[in-house]
Symmetry: C2
Amino acid sequence: MSEGTNLMSHYKFEVPEIVFGRGMLSQVGCCARRLGGRKIFLVSDQGLFEAGWVDQVMKSLLQAGLEFVYFDQVSINPKDHEVEEGAREYLRHGADVIVGLGGGSAMDAAKGIAILSANGGRIRDFEGTDRIVRPLPPMVLCPTTCGTGSDVSQFAIISDTEKRCKLTIMSRCVAPNISLTDPDTLKTLPEEYICTTATDALSHALEAFFSIAATTLTDVHAVKAIRLLKGNLVEAVHEQTPDAMENLSRASLHAGMAFSNSLLGIVHALAHPIGGFYNANHGSINAVLLPEVIRYDLPVVTEKLPELAWGLGCKGADDEKVVAEVVQGEVDALLEACGAPRSLRSLGVQREDLPKLARNALEDACLITSPRQADFNDLLGILEKAF
Amino acid sequence: MSEGTNLMSHYKFEVPEIVFGRGMLSQVGCCARRLGGRKIFLVSDQGLFEAGWVDQVMKSLLQAGLEFVYFDQVSINPKDHEVEEGAREYLRHGADVIVGLGGGSAMDAAKGIAILSANGGRIRDFEGTDRIVRPLPPMVLCPTTCGTGSDVSQFAIISDTEKRCKLTIMSRCVAPNISLTDPDTLKTLPEEYICTTATDALSHALEAFFSIAATTLTDVHAVKAIRLLKGNLVEAVHEQTPDAMENLSRASLHAGMAFSNSLLGIVHALAHPIGGFYNANHGSINAVLLPEVIRYDLPVVTEKLPELAWGLGCKGADDEKVVAEVVQGEVDALLEACGAPRSLRSLGVQREDLPKLARNALEDACLITSPRQADFNDLLGILEKAF
């Protein structure tokens, strides 16, 4: 693997059918029926039930003449035993289509349940790339945060509770048939999650843009996500205006379309072991790592910086060195202004764990598409700076 | 329908699986097999056969262990009787997957054959939106020009030879399963088609960008297409350098992804009756109409012009009026520099036909998404200016 920022010469690009708009949760039933469903396995969580969104989906399913089974035994950073239990329930009830409603946790749990219900075994058997043999049941995924991108991505991330790490499962069949975003659901998103999920989207967009697997098809979505975040993140965090919130939903969707096809980099390679080990918030970890990884990547991505600078709204930055400084400064300023956490220490990470985390990151699939080939010392250096 | 440039509040976005890269024609067999094919109906034309590309596809099909039937009775602006004959051949041979290789004519013919083989009847029965009832056979479409976008679009345009007009068929099921672009095929594209098909892509991108059904998901692709055309069209036309040609392929793909989801406008509403009546080249007609339609649209799309100006590489154009002039000037200059035709007269259009053409355009589905609601006099005025 060589360093550089050239576009891939041969590539694939695939995204689910996308439905987007306020009030669109009322269409979940039609979508599930269109996929051939009769008995729907609905995966969500307690918070969304209390907020009334699960009820809206249930109504939509009933209006479409569909039966459903509701499953909400899903926690943050969804666990191996939870998806294994979900798959048993799916099979016991003879369900045929899966609807996931929630943040990355509920949607990744829905994906894990889909994998196991069709393929059997333990979820860890499917870790890595293209390990899934039998086709999954059709899926409709409905994000209710503004960052995960799981609703369009070819990834599922499940926690291995024995090894205290995250399993990265990557396969085109893990992407749902339909991604349905109803930005109204953000109205009840707890305030702290606006920042942490939107900074997750920012890290998706930036890592997708710098990835060695980036193409013009992914770059356009990455840059649009960055533009939307730059223009709306601070307002959304501080004022929660509906338009700004809707634009964060949009940003999350664009970022998801980008990274699902160009993959990610060092931020996520490091965030997975940290999240798995401390059960810490994924978006917060990314927000802390992002500035350091950008600083590390910048020297090898200079060709792409003018387009990124435009995405960040910087005018007239043409000189290579100036652009790099401007980009770095803009990302730092954006994270600062939205109140993102700025140190791993503040997230509960212990200094003595850093070498182990760096070693685990070396095994993560996200490292493969990093624009700069990082070794153990590089990764440890980034962790120390971010500590 | 009101005038304006606001984004849609509710929308869908759908694109086929995309495969892109030099030499990728060798993968057509794998793609067709993945779609469940055993006996492939291969639609192409004499020119591509002579250039050796049909042979490459046949080899790829054989290597994948597939039988095939070859059908090349397709002319420019494919005719109703041609697709009706193709469907009979498809059924007679018991084919199960369709591969279309060529420009818009061969690919639209492949789509027409798919419609009739599954639904029976005459092709004119399917004119309009969502008139197709039964699911179509799986399709792989491989563009060999740099403009049509048929390989990703939900449109098929077939000539009605009795009425001397074009039938616009629009349905999500008309989009293929896989769009496979091998930019190497442009090596043998006759020189005059580089300009005419690339200006078709330019009109797709600009009409998609100004469409009232535009969304951020389509805008990013429209603007990228415009950037790629601005940066490569003149070099491709005059020097045919492989990189410039490949970027035209990419531009065509981006423009196709945009217009398939945001639809088009007045350029295409007028181009369809003109093409149907005179059997004239579609890209040439678009190139002539485009500057006049932009002039007509500009007053109602001012909000979107800064992003477009960026796409056209214009720096520092912030003032509304200046931006409009800059955009108009850039498009005019680009068409001039690549030697596009500049008058309807030069394409064989007769002045006395203009009222009839304007009247026919009023019925075209593309008019619905025009940013400015045009009546008969508006359309006639545009035709007269472009004459």
